[in-house]
């Protein structure tokens, strides 16, 4: 297994995998930039995590929080992007598979999105 393992020197040539990898790489870098900035502002504001609880997510006031460079708002934006990335990855895969006319994989990706949407709706509805 250790000699001439085809996985050792393999680089994905699959365009869909490359596109998804690109999305995840760029997305995590944007998340990192936001969360690092938010954490630095948290330190500068003299806030000690855990001892001082953070603000709840208020989507309506997020823009104002961001404009005011408040640490809570910037951290929330980073965290929202974090949570959105995996679903974005499934969406990009769906589009990529559809463009590549890989119908079976596109159907699987669409079904994953459907089941995720359904479980989320049920979870939120159950309170």
């Amino acid at each position: 297994m250790s000699h001439a393992n085809p996985l050792d020197a393999f680089d994905s040539g699959d365009p869909v995998e490359r596109r998804v990898a690109g999305l995840l790489a760029r997305g995590t870098l944007i998340v990192l930039a936001l969360v690092v900035l938010g954490t630095i502002l948290t330190v500068l504001a003299g806030i000690t995590p855990i001892r001082q609880p953070g603000p709840r997510l208020e989507v309506g006031s997020l823009a104002a929080e961001l404009a005011g460079l408040r640490p809570g708002g910037i951290l929330w934006l980073g965290l929202l992007l974090t949570v959105a990335l995996p679903t974005g990855r499934v969406l990009v895969s769906l589009v990529g598979f559809a463009r590549a006319r890989d119908r079976r994989s596109a159907l699987v990706a669409a079904a994953v999105l459907g089941v995720l949407g359904l479980s989320l709706t049920l979870a939120l509805a159950s309170g």
């Binding site: 990898a21 995840l24 995590t28 001892r51 974090t82």
Partner: protein, 281 residues
């Protein structure tokens, strides 16, 4: 500042561990946050989920580029896990959690033993050999799921086990990686590194579905989650870049240790005991 560094350090260890083994890292993060920082269990789970998603995205970006994570296989099993998770949510009131924990503990112990022996010599069917064989939908799909140097076999059984992984995740609150990695490696004939990378890719989606619920319910503290996410990114990125230098036998042994730990944790839960703060994701 000290708290922030400790949180980031914990995130880095959990991220490295998760990216290396295709697990969520909650097995480390939740006890750290509950026992180390005194966070309530639900808050710790919520923060841990943010760490899991970051680990998955950062690790998958590297693993996909290097052709280690198998996107099509991951999506197919992801569908089965999501359906299992949904079914698990409904079955939660029908099944005894303690009975399920006992059964899962036995399954993990058996899996740990099987992992030590390595994958079996099942009938590996290559696409070429199918030309003269039956061509049903499952086989046709199997033939599109292989990768460099390997082909996927036993897809229906692998999907069945992924449904089980989803049910177990929903009912017992633990990540499906402990089921999915052995299922891919031992049952479907996928190399261990690919199984780990593909599992890592998959966990992000399942964790994000749960994380949204925690976000909406206000259980995530951004001041705590921020440093943990930064640490998880650094740990997962580093580990996924270095993972090819870790010998497969070491990976296998590490995985067996984790399986053994979770098996003990589940046995304790079945007996009504608690070893550490129980381990999601």
């Amino acid at each position: 500042m000290e708290t922030i560094l400790l949180l980031a350090g914990g995130g880095a260890v959990a991220g490295a561990f998760g990216a290396l083994l295709g697990l969520g890292g909650g097995v480390l993060m939740v006890p750290l946050l509950t026992l180390g920082f005194g966070l309530p269990f639900r808050e710790a789970v919520a923060i841990s989920l943010m760490s899991v998603i970051t680990t998955s995205s950062a690790g998958a970006a590297v693993y996909l580029r290097r052709g280690l994570a198998n996107l099509r296989l991951g999506m197919t099993l992801e569908l089965a896990t999501a359906i299992g998770g949904l079914a698990g949510g409904f079955a939660a009131f029908l099944l005894s959690e303690r009975l399920l924990a006992a059964a899962f503990s036995l399954l993990l112990a058996y899996t740990a033993f099987s992992m030590l022996r390595g994958p079996g010599e099942g009938p590996e069917r290559h696409p070429e050999s199918r030309a003269h064989g039956e061509h049903d939908a499952v086989e046709a799909h199997e033939s599109t799921l292989g990768g460099p140097g390997y082909s996927v076999r036993n897809l229906p059984l692998g999907m069945g086990l992924s449904v089980v992984a989803g049910v177990i995740s929903a009912l017992l609150g633990i990540g499906g990686g402990t089921v999915k990695v052995p299922a891919m490696h031992l049952v479907m004939g996928v190399p261990l590194r690919v199984a780990v990378a593909t599992s890592g890719l998959m966990i992000g989606v399942t964790a994000s579905a749960s994380a949204i619920v925690y976000l909406v319910r206000g259980t995530v503290d951004p001041y705590v989650a921020g440093p943990v996410v930064v640490g998880s990114f650094l740990g997962a990125s580093g580990a996924s870049h270095l993972s090819h230098r870790v010998p497969v036998d070491v990976l296998r042994l590490l995985f067996v240790v984790v399986l053994g730990y979770v098996a003990v944790e589940m046995a304790a839960r079945a007996l009504g005991l608690r070893i550490l703060a129980a381990t999601p994701a």
